[in-house]
């Protein structure tokens, strides 16, 4: 008996998968797996109670399809351009940043339809009338408001293109879709019949169930089906697109605000429900209004997430070159990147070296108020003309190298008017984003040459305090109306200014001395290798032998003896620079050689400061 059970399970596992059109009809697979799992548990009095906040095998099917069988490339990427083309209730991908967390939502997860248990997981609508509450289970899911990553550079979009939707839309006529679904359905029938033999509860399953919703929406004329894009009234400046992601079976703390992630799940849209219903007769509905009410489904698509993963800068690379990051390889790329940086910076070797260290810096640890590893950079000696030449080149280059970057013109007017601070609007219940709501690893370039003498209004003062805080402690204060909450960030900050900037006090101040102006262009292969280099080096683990500790301590002590003005900040910066130098060569541990290089860089810089 047991053997047959195991056999049955295996068979079921084999049957699920390719036979289903997981992309075209993901809910079919979800329901089939659910009914099978429920049938397997049918011995108990309450067979589905065990499935609360737990996966019964559906995510597993998708996971293996996406990552093991290469199904990921077949899943279209949802963005503003193809929102209207994607059919509801199909599998989509969305890459974005968690902009706001909207708490959790309760839904009737499982319910009894006659004698059969059915599920509403991964969808907003039920094709059946809801039964009496006794026969249904309330489950919860978490809602996240996700937006395209602010400052995301165009090259990251090419890294993982989905299939061309226009083509797909053409070749997938409704008839074909219908057929596929029926095929999938039949498979499910086979499985249940084969598996359970005479078990009545499952084989009685009406055939139409799986088809009902998809078909009803597929029959609609496409024009009616297209959600209207209307970006003007959206609260994210410069972005007209966002997505409401519903995540299941996960402690909420796994997702953090400003995380960048890829969500793969079911895109749902029902034009019937999207229409505003003014004739709500119950006053209660108006009062206990939902945050989601302000995110109309016609503008903000719903995505019921089956599988998700956090993205780091490595994930944005076009191909994952399966190369071991060997020092010899990295050294070569470092050299080519450095010489390119030197060209971009008008043959200023010192500035190029500092810029490289800056681009490779990341926040390592945070002890109390001290942050370790960051290296913000301030190029001085710029004026409006040189900014228009070198600043522009620099920006183009950074855009080509970093996954997310923004250039901010720091003028009095900007400081007085821009909304830098994210703010919770308690009226609407949403977090209104600000410029400083940024993902980890974002890059900001401030152009301070635009700053003229002038008065700052109170907003300007608040903004400068925010910027200063970000510079000094990598913290951004979010305004929650009745209190402020500090959020940790890891943002690289580059300032171009005339003299040393006191508004944005950087770690490293380098007077910029360009000698030539040359237009330089990098090939796309070069850019690709540099991106790979930056992403790899930044993620290299750092270890060190205890011997080096002592040497460096001695070095520091003797340096302090020679120059009494050296303090904790300077020495700490030296060590940061040395460490980044070491990893820039692909070395996992710091050696005295790198320490000396950092010191030499520092000496040259000091010379120039005088």
């Amino acid at each position: 008996r047991r053997e047959s059970e195991i056999h049955r399970r295996r068979k079921a596992e084999r049957m699920v998968g390719p036979q289903y059109d997981l992309v075209g009809n993901p809910l079919g697979a979800v329901r089939a797996t659910f009914e099978r799992a429920a049938a397997a548990e049918s011995g108990g009095r309450d067979p589905v109670a065990a499935f609360r906040s737990k996966d019964w095998g559906a995510s597993e099917v998708f996971r293996s399809f996406l990552f093991e069988q290469g199904g990921l490339d077949k899943v279209p990427l949802l963005d503003a351009s193809n929102l209207g083309l994607i059919k509801p209730n199909t599998l989509v991908r969305f890459r974005g940043m968690v902009q706001d967390m909207l708490g959790n939502e309760f839904y009737a997860g499982a319910f009894k339809d006659g004698s059969t248990w059915r599920t509403n997981k991964f969808t907003d609508f039920s094709p059946f009338a809801m039964p009496h509450p006794c026969d249904s289970h309330l489950w919860e899911r978490h809602l996240f408001h996700c937006v395209p990553v602010p400052g995301q550079n165009s090259w990251t979009l090419e890294s993982s293109p989905g299939p061309d939707l226009r083509q797909m839309a053409n070749c997938l006529t409704p008839e074909q879709r219908e057929k596929r679904k029926r095929d999938g359905d039949d498979d499910a029938m086979d499985v249940s019949e084969n598996g359970n033999g005479g078990s009545s509860s499952c084989s009685k399953k009406p055939k139409e169930d799986d088809v009902q919703i998809p078909s009803s929406s597929a029959e609609m004329p496409a024009s009616e089906n297209v959600p209207q894009m209307n970006g003007n009234d959206h609260h994210i400046p410069g972005s007209s697109f966002s997505c409401l992601v519903k995540i299941y079976d996960m402690p909420e703390s796994q997702v953090k605000l400003n995380d960048v992630a890829e969500f793969i799940g079911v895109y749902t849209f029902d034009p019937e429900l999207a229409a505003p219903n003014d004739n709500s007769d119950d006053i209660m509905f108006d009062l206990i209004e939902d945050v989601t009410a302000q995110l109309p489904p016609s503008k903000v698509p719903r995505l019921h997430c089956l599988v998700w993963r956090k993205l780091s800068s490595v994930d944005f690379l076009a191909k994952h070159p399966a190369v071991e990051p060997l020092p010899s390889l990295l050294k070569g790329i470092r050299q080519s990147l450095l010489s390119h940086l030197t060209l971009v910076l008008g043959k200023d070797d010192l500035a190029a070296n500092c810029l490289l260290l800056h681009l490779l810096s990341r926040l390592r640890t945070r002890v109390d108020v001290v942050t370790v590893g960051r290296l913000s950079l301030n190029f001085t000696g710029f004026n409006r003309e040189s900014v228009s030449i070198f600043g522009k080149q620099l920006n183009t280059l950074i855009q080509g190298l970093m996954p997310y970057s923004q250039a901010i013109p720091l003028s009095i007017e900007y400081l007085n008017t821009a909304t830098l601070q994210p703010r919770k609007d308690n009226k609407s219940g949403r977090l209104v984003t600000g410029v400083l709501q940024l993902p980890q690893g974002a890059h900001l370039t401030f152009d301070e040459t635009l700053l003229q003498s002038g008065s700052l209004a109170s907003k300007g003062v608040e903004n400068t305090v925010l910027l200063k805080n970000l510079m000094e402690s990598q913290m951004v204060e979010y305004d929650f109306e009745y209190y402020k909450l500090e959020m940790a960030t890891d943002v690289q900050l580059l300032t171009l200014s005339e003299g040393k900037s006191n508004i944005l006090p950087s770690d490293l101040v380098v007077p910029f001395r360009a000698s030539t102006v040359s237009a330089v262009n990098a090939t796309s292969e070069e850019l690709e290798s540099w991106r790979w280099y930056l992403a790899t080096v930044r993620s290299l683990p750092q270890s060190s032998e205890p011997e080096i500790y002592q040497t460096i301590q001695d070095e520091m002590v003797s340096a302090m003896r020679n120059d009494r003005s050296l303090g904790c900040t300077e020495l700490s910066r030296w060590l940061t620079m040395a460490q980044i130098t070491a990893s820039s060569f692909g070395e996992k541990s710091l050696s005295l050689e790198h320490w000396q290089m950092a010191k030499e860089l520092e000496r040259l810089r000091k010379e120039r400061m005088q």
């Binding site: 004026n383 209190y483 959020m487 003299g499």
Partner: protein, 653 residues
């Protein structure tokens, strides 16, 4: 009308009943109400109002974030902050209809689940008109209803998360019981309702909306209103210690901490733990954080409670770091560089140095840090204009702004923590403080404590710093020093103490204070010198009182004891020894701070004047009144160089 029932009492009476009440509140509460009505009817037969039981103080309260489907239809208790209130909605309870044909009033019709059924025909025998009934609004009974939004308190939000909210439904008496911004504890029944899209629609949304049907609301921050001169309340730091969440727990913990015999040392160690030595400086800074009591006499005279501290020292002695640390610790702290402080105004000015192109922000730091610590780095670089403002700030604790003909006086109840670099790049031990930092003595005298932080080339310290930096970078931060409070505890400790502890001088302490002060002044009467040297002034006694109050606060003590006064004397002396020591004689001389001239210096000048006068008189006697000025001056050219202001008097005499 309602009757509040403490759930703890229910539990003590019958734990089983308590369990049933929490699990099946709808049923159990209905029974409670019936029993209650019965009792009332027995006690007062004429009492006709409906009376309701309101349960409060459940044995366990749940975090708003952790509400989940299994809590539906159960009684829950949650704490949070009200962020929004709806307007009051009248809800129909009983409807009365009137026949349009005959004017017959129907019996009151009860509202059943949000619906009221209109009678189809007039009930009057003679009329029987159909579809003639109309609602009479002013004869219906309505009840108040309100919906509020409750949000998690900041201390319950996990890192990298945003606060959750829940809707709470309030009835009758509970309406308007809380205002937005209030921290409350709510006991109620967690409910969910399905969303009907409309009667015509086929599909059903499977989503449920949840809310809490409120039974009882308790404000948790009432006590705050009674505290006057507390630190700012809507500040994150302060609110961490305020009375919500696991408040009582936290306060108990703080109180326990305060009872430790070595709490003073512990606090000292916890302040900027990665800066070593400078223990006495840290003690002084601690006193500043805790602060003394501000006093306003009925006569209108003000005594400030804030302690001002000046740090003077060599570059690279982690002064700035101390300042930064203080800025983190103090609620509403402001950190500014003296180079860019214009002292007044709520706006700021961006100035650009014409030579270097450096941009500088001139901000109105002092007003903004009302009731906080204003940290001013590079105090010596402050413009004279801004500095003159500080006089007023540091003594009167106000800032006057003249705008459009109106002089406004703004509160600036701030402690000033300033740090200055010597005017030469290093501190010259042969010169006085005044000469080292070009600050007017009038301003200097307003600092309670002036510390000199000199960089003594000390390999030991250097090595320690180097070791610290290295360990910071290699991700094995030194084994955490034992018995050190972490930052948040320290902040909580300080703000709690500032809020609730207002120590008074005990008689013994007052006596000790007088004795010590007299002793201090007497020390000036050196047997060797003829003239009296002032070693202490009335300003010092005020400082001493503030310091000892702050020290008592550190122990959460309501009484300033003798030991606080002794320690305050010690702190003051340490600071004075560093800054007010006259280097010519090696004694403490307050004149140095008060006027910038030590009394030994003054005596030397006096002697010089006398000697010159003697000489001049002598010469004049010899040469007669017609002697030329040049001749008089000639022999004393060397004197001229040494002491220009003294010689200037000479020709006159």
């Amino acid at each position: 009308e309602s009757l509040d029932v403490d759930a703890h009492d229910v539990f003590d009476h019958d734990p089983d009943l308590y369990g049933k009440m929490v699990r099946y509140p709808l049923e159990v509460l209905a029974i409670f109400d019936i029993v209650l009505m019965d009792l009332v009817a027995r006690m007062e037969p004429l009492f006709e109002k409906h009376i309701q039981t309101r349960i409060y103080n459940l044995k366990s309260s749940i975090c708003l974030r952790n509400l989940n489907p299994s809590d539906i239809e159960k009684m829950v208790s949650i704490k949070g902050m009200i962020i929004r209130c709806s307007s009051v909605i009248p809800e129909l309870k009983e409807a009365v209809f009137r026949c349009l044909v005959c004017g017959f009033y129907s019996e009151p019709v009860m509202v059943d689940r949000g619906r009221v059924t209109e009678p189809h025909i007039c009930q009057k025998e003679q009329c029987k008109a159909s579809n003639s009934m109309t609602l009479v609004h002013n004869r219906c009974r309505f009840a108040d209803k309100q919906i509020i939004k409750l949000q998690e308190t900041p201390d319950e939000i996990p890192e990298g998360g945003t606060p959750h909210t829940v809707s709470v439904l309030m009835h009758d008496k509970l309406v308007d019981a809380g205002k937005p911004g209030d921290r409350v504890e709510i006991t109620g029944i967690y409910r969910a309702m399905s969303i009907r899209i409309g009667p015509s629609q086929r599909t059903v949304k499977s989503i449920f909306k949840t809310y809490i049907d409120c039974l009882h609301i308790k404000k948790t921050d009432k006590s705050r209103l009674h505290i006057e001169d507390s630190m700012d309340t809507d500040n994150t730091n302060a609110s961490k210690s305020s009375e919500d969440g696991h408040v009582t727990d936290k306060i108990d913990k703080l109180k326990e901490l305060s009872k430790l015999p070595d709490i003073y040392d512990r606090l000292t160690r916890s302040l900027a733990p990665n800066i070593w030595e400078l223990d006495d400086v840290k003690r002084g800074l601690l006193c500043q954080l805790f602060g003394g009591n501000a006093l306003r006499l009925p006569s209108g005279a003000n005594f400030r409670g804030d302690i001002n501290i000046l740090l003077v020292g060599d570059p690279g002695t982690s002064k700035s770091q101390l300042l930064q640390y203080m800025h983190k610790l103090s609620p509403r702290g402001i950190y500014t560089s003296g180079r860019g402080s214009s002292a007044v105004g709520l706006t700021a000015y961006v100035a650009k140095d014409p030579e270097t192109g450096e941009t500088v922000l001139e901000s109105g730091a002092l007003v903004l840090s009302d009731k906080g610590v204003c940290c001013i780095d590079e105090f010596d670089k402050m413009s004279d204009n801004a500095r003159s403002m500080l006089h007023e700030v540091m003594e009167q604790q106000t800032v006057s702004i003249a705008k459009a003909g109106i002089i406004a006086s703004l509160n600036a109840r701030t402690s000033v923590l300033a740090c200055a670099n010597p005017s030469e790049s290093r501190y010259n031990p042969r010169l006085s403080v005044i000469d080292n930092i070009h600050l007017p003595p009038t301003l200097l005298s307003r600092f309670d404590l002036i510390y000199l932080i000199l960089d003594k080339a000390d390999e030991q310290t250097d090595r320690r710093l180097a070791k610290h930096i290295v360990s910071l970078h290699f991700e094995n931060p030194e084994v955490v020093e034992h018995q050190v409070l972490d930052l948040s505890t320290l902040v909580a400790y300080i703000s709690y103490s500032r809020k609730y502890i207002h120590p008074k001088l005990s008689d013994e302490a007052a006596e000790e204070l007088t004795r010590g002060y007299v002793a201090m002044r007497q020390r000036g009467n050196n047997p060797g010198s003829r003239k009296k040297v002032i070693t202490a002034t009335a300003r010092q006694i005020e400082s001493l009182i503030r310091l000892s109050e702050a020290l008592a606060r550190m122990r959460f003590s309501e009484v300033v004891g003798v030991r606080d006064v002794t320690e305050a004397f010690r702190l003051l002396e340490v600071a004075m020894q560093q800054s007010a020591t006259d280097h010519a004689t090696g004694t403490i001389d307050m004149d140095l701070i008060m006027t910038g001239v030590s009394s030994s210096e003054r005596q030397r000048r006096d002697n010089l004047v006398a000697a010159i006068r003697d000489l001049v008189m002598e010469k004049m006697q010899l040469a007669g009144p017609s002697m030329r000025m040049a001749e008089v001056k000639k022999p004393y050219l060397s004197v001229h160089v040494v002491c220009p202001d003294t010689i200037a008097i000479c020709p006159l005499s």
